[in-house]
Symmetry: C2
């Protein structure tokens, strides 16, 4: 694939949005009446780390669709990030990937025990929909529908079930694509469609950002597989080589870095093409996609 | 407390609704694209058992508020039952209550393994909100808000955190009430308010069914604690004596059966009084409450 983005390039592009995401997450994460110990665990799982890619996708998809998105987009950004964070917490559990390190820190169950990690994950998922419900009337239900579809049994969870070897998966590239479509692309797609909905996008625009997201999500997960093979814990903030250790399928290991690079380039091109009908308003979204798939951490 | 309801009385009252619940659950549980293995686990966790009390509360609260509720109420009934089922699946995990028996069958993690049980629980919770989103426009968001509040970090999950000893809880009756309010009453309250919302209830009616539900939920959990001390696995379809085995607080053990009976009577009376403003349309709801707290299984 084309030249790698430096950490600095990626940070420069995402930093203002990551800061905005942090503010929105702090605002909506903990509701009144939540026990302090649970709030502490939820904050640990969510705040102070992460590239906030999914919130960025929400906001830039709103922009691409020609609007700002307003508070509903902020709520959608929070909701999709809460879902991402809960999925990491549950994925890291001993019965799942059994990971001890995440974002350079002990994982939630190492820090708070398994019971609290399970419950904090459940609370984050539930809160995501509570935050969306506050977007009010028509938009709240539409956003919840997008998020539930992307995060649910035919989306992200289907990908996790496949990734964990809990259901049959086709051999070769088709099977890898099915895993990646679920475990990564489905939620990125939901983020993009939620953002566009907040900007009152019509069906054509919803489809355009959804197709961009699907392709970028697939490319992103291919890069993730590559980094799992080539990265170090210091670079990644998490344990590398975990696919091999867990006997999981890894695109870089199966297809080789060369073929993987070609696939990333093809997906990135298709993602860019999907945005063509949106014109210049989609320029930032396109740029984010290109930078994301060139990342090295 | 006053004379015990026989299993037959309870069944006769609930059976038609339980059957309706089963039909609605079958209709909405599995979405297209869900892997077969995951669908099988989700069905196992949800179908073919349970008294379907929360769906009954949704429907009868709609009736109490003067309406039928229509399809939105059916969706709310499904959603609240999916949340109840997911919470059982996660509660039963080895890191939580470590239960092997539920509704007279092996628990989900015994049957499918822990990873699938965690993921199936996550999928059920996500699906609950997906089903609500389908209620359309304004009602979908309002229902999602009610469910998220009842099921979330200040509701059901707060109760589980307290019940697991993961946060400080006051001694005596106040602490028990806090645990029971979260782990049982919050979701029953959400069920009641969702039902009433589907019947276009005003704030006064929402408050009335909410207060009924809060009191009946608390009484129901007191009876649950009593049955945990006095019941058998054959009667209950789950392991009795688990509070004592897990070192958990149990109202019957702490307060004695006599005091517990007085409390149940008091809560039931307050629940009935809360319904007074609703008049005869609330008669069935009142009767369900009275029967529920007299149950022996």
């Amino acid at each position: 694939m084309a030249g790698a983005a430096t950490a600095t390039e990626l940070d420069a592009l995402l930093a203002p949005y990551a800061q905005r995401a942090e503010g929105c997450l702090r605002r909506w994460l903990v509701e009144p009446g939540c026990p302090d110990a649970l709030a502490e665990a939820m904050r640990y799982c969510v705040l102070g780390g992460g590239k906030r890619i999914r919130p960025v996708v929400v906001w830039m998809s709103a922009e691409a669709a020609g609007g700002d998105g307003g508070e509903p987009a902020d709520r959608a950004a929070v909701a999709v990030e809460l879902v991402h964070c809960y999925s990491m917490v549950h994925d890291d559990l001993p019965a799942m990937d059994d990971d001890a390190l995440r974002r350079g820190r002990p994982t939630a169950h190492v820090k708070f025990g398994q019971a609290m990690a399970i419950l904090a994950g459940d609370a984050l998922l539930t809160r995501a929909f509570g935050v969306l419900a506050g977007a009010g009337a028509e938009l709240g239900a539409a956003l919840a529908g997008e998020l539930a579809a992307g995060a649910g049994a035919a989306g992200m969870i289907a990908g996790q079930v496949a990734d964990m070897g809990l259901c049959p998966v086709a051999p070769g590239q088709a099977g890898l694509r099915a895993i990646h479509a679920g475990k990564t692309a489905a939620l990125v797609r939901a983020a993009a469609r939620m953002g566009a909905r907040c900007a009152a996008a019509d069906e054509a625009r919803l489809r355009a950002v959804g197709e961009w997201a699907e392709n970028i999500g697939l490319a992103y997960q291919l890069v993730d597989d590559l980094l799992d093979v080539t990265g170090t814990a210091g670079q990644l903030g998490k344990t590398p080589g975990k696919d091999a250790a867990a006997g999981k399928r890894n695109a870089a290991a199966e297809l080789g870095a060369g073929r993987l690079g070609e696939m990333v380039d093809g997906l990135t091109a298709r993602a860019g093409a999907a945005l063509a009908p949106l014109g210049p308003s989609a320029e930032m979204l396109r740029q984010v996609g290109q930078t994301l798939v060139k990342r090295r951490r």
